[in-house]
């Protein structure tokens, strides 16, 4: 059984001018121990999907349709108190900015011990020992001393390590990591990615990795889901999607990424911009920017069809190719 099953998820914002649909019919699942990358550009609904899963959608945003199941149990309709217990115990969260995720008034030890004791049956001494062990595990040097430090006394990279320790404190089955390295310098980013990968492998923790960074997906994820304008356009094993993307949007996106080893020169360019939520085109949302769009793309929303082993794409044109 899949650890997490997201089925036809719709997240909307009611406004004076009608409903804005920010996540539109997204379905995917995550197996235990698997890393699923959820990738897309700003405003595609990738963070909202993550927030919906951990039950932290900010009103007026709301789940309008669909279901989210964790270990077979629905979690999208739980009362806030029940959801709070699941968050932390069964689902950990890592956000972009480690400063806002930590309480500046409490030592990192206090925060870790509190999280540990909320979710695990441990006394104060055992909790502190466990906190030190966690800090060591995430690579904080001299954890016996650092445990009494306040967040501002640590560098950005060290803070993000503490946030990871907090997310893993109760040994959750799933971690939702939303742009976990975006705020960090490149050499620190690589360290944090390696750490996250190693810990999740060792603890068999599944990860939903929300990011705009295809490079990070390539290094970390087992499978990848590509979002465009709130819709899933491609989902498949990471090697297949990155080496041979099938949806025209994914193809454009891969070509737009500058790479070392190609000489100075032009990048592949996707013309235009992503539509605003109040102006999503009919049919395939990508058709105005798509070089392969035909009449059908302008009228009908494409089905999510199989294009290879465990690889699907939402494109009318890809289906035509597969048949011929």
């Amino acid at each position: 059984m899949a650890l997490l099953e997201v089925e036809d998820l719709v997240v909307e914002f009611p406004t004076r001018h009608g409903r804005l649909v920010a996540v539109d019919g997204v379905s995917f699942s995550i197996e235990p121990g698997e890393v699923l990358g959820l990738v897309g550009e700003s405003g595609t609904g990738k963070s909202l999907t993550g927030m919906a899963i951990i039950g932290l959608l900010e009103p007026p945003g709301r789940i309008a349709r669909g279901s989210i199941r964790l270990e077979g149990q629905r979690i999208d309709d739980l009362p806030p108190e029940a959801m709070r217990r699941i968050r932390g115990r069964k689902i950990g969260a890592i956000f972009q900015d480690p400063l806002t995720a930590l309480n500046p008034l409490l030592t990192i030890g206090r925060q870790l011990e509190e999280t540990i004791r909320t979710h695990l049956e441990l006394d104060a001494r055992a909790a502190r020992a466990r906190a030190i062990e966690l800090l060591r595990e995430v690579g904080i040097p001299a954890p016996e001393q650092r445990i009494d430090a306040y967040p501002h006394e640590l560098s950005g990279g060290m803070r993000q390590r503490v946030v990871i320790a907090l997310a893993l404190a109760a040994e959750p089955a799933l971690v939702v990591a939303d742009e976990p390295t975006t705020a960090l310098d490149v050499s620190i980013q690589a360290q944090i990615v390696q750490l996250l990968k190693r810990l999740c492998r060792e603890h068999r923790t599944a990860v939903l990795l929300v990011t705009h960074d295809m490079g990070m997906i390539a290094e970390t994820a087992d499978r990848v889901a590509v979002l465009y304008a709130g819709r899933l356009v491609e989902l498949g094993p990471v090697e297949a999607v990155i080496r041979r993307p099938r949806h025209p949007y994914t193809q454009g996106l891969m070509g737009a990424i500058p790479r070392i080893g190609r000489r100075k020169g032009r990048l592949v360019q996707i013309e235009g911009a992503m539509p605003r939520l109040d102006a999503i085109p009919p049919g395939c949302a990508f058709h105005p920017r798509c070089p392969r769009a035909v009449d059908r793309c302008r009228r009908e929303r494409p089905d999510f069809v199989g294009v290879g082993p465990a690889h699907r794409a939402a494109c009318w044109r890809v289906e035509v190719e597969a048949v011929s």
């Binding site: 550009e41 700003s42 560098s155 990279g157 310098d185 490149v186 050499s187 620190i188 980013q189 690589a190 360290q191 390696q194 705009h212 960074d213 295809m214 490079g215 990070m216 390539a218 290094e219 990471v238 090697e239 990155i242 080496r243 454009g252 996106l253 891969m254 070509g255 737009a256 990424i257 500058p258 790479r259 070392i260 080893g261 190609r262 000489r263 100075k264 020169g265 032009r266 990048l267 592949v268 360019q269 996707i270 911009a273």
Partner: protein
Amino acid sequence: MSAPPLVVVEGLARRFDVSRPWLARLLTREPRRFLQAVAGVDFAIPRGTTMALVGESGCGKSTVARMLVGLLRPSAGRILFDGTPLDPNAGRKALAPVRRRMQMIFQDPYASLDPRWRVEAIVAEPLDAFGLVASRAERRERVSELLRAVGLSPADGRKYPHEFSGGQRQRISIARALASRPDFLVCDEPTSALDVSVQAQILNLMQELQEQLGLTYLLISHNLAVVSVMADQVGVMYLGRIVELAPAAELFERPRHPYTRLLLDTVPDLEMRRRERAPVAGEVPSPIDPPPGCAFHPRCPWANGRCRAERPELQPVGPARVACHAVEEGRLAA
């Protein structure tokens, strides 16, 4: 190379006073403290080419950029523009003819455009500031031409910045920078606030404009992949100094300084070779108390006693220049 370089920088340095207030210093008997943001940087940018400065936060790359366009005064060293040294003590009027020829594009297109100004006023500001247009009709004409050059429509001039996306705002910044017909553009992380597909549009636009107008660029970036598609020449900065300076193709093919190798190793591999990387230890130390000797030695796997004591200078190695004892002594194959 017959034509002299457009921009030459010699021994450029800048330190900031980060002392506590006078009374606090007196009470705690603390000495003054300085942050050496840039500690003597030399390079030259040939006309019509792109020089990139790369490094992590705090390496001083943005400070160099700000000194070049006159937003910060150097503590030492000099800048030659088109063969003439810029005198930091010269008045606004005296410098205006040179300042017109150099412009800057900033990282954050949300912060660098005044939200209360219409786009046409933003783009026309350099025209007015340098007195480059004689009439309102000419001004309007020139603004339309600039907006078209960056892929916007002349009608966009009537709108306000909030009506545009991040990529379009960066186009507006570029139009404004081009208004005074500059030769030299300093671009400080011009695409790091943008999505990749928008980044590709802006980088392509910058290349097109460079070819059409013969522009010379100084590109400041932390993203080596961006640098590799844009630059002719790359300087890698670490704690206020250039540690490696090389033609771009050379630098990416044969990185020599251990820090350059480290940076290149952190670039995610989109070819999916799934290589296991040697984890890079450590973080950038504080520029207030930089390590003695080579500033990179605490993170360097090849460091020895000499590296901890003696600061390496840039030495020619093939077509590159590298500041590393290990490379110089042949302990590390160049």
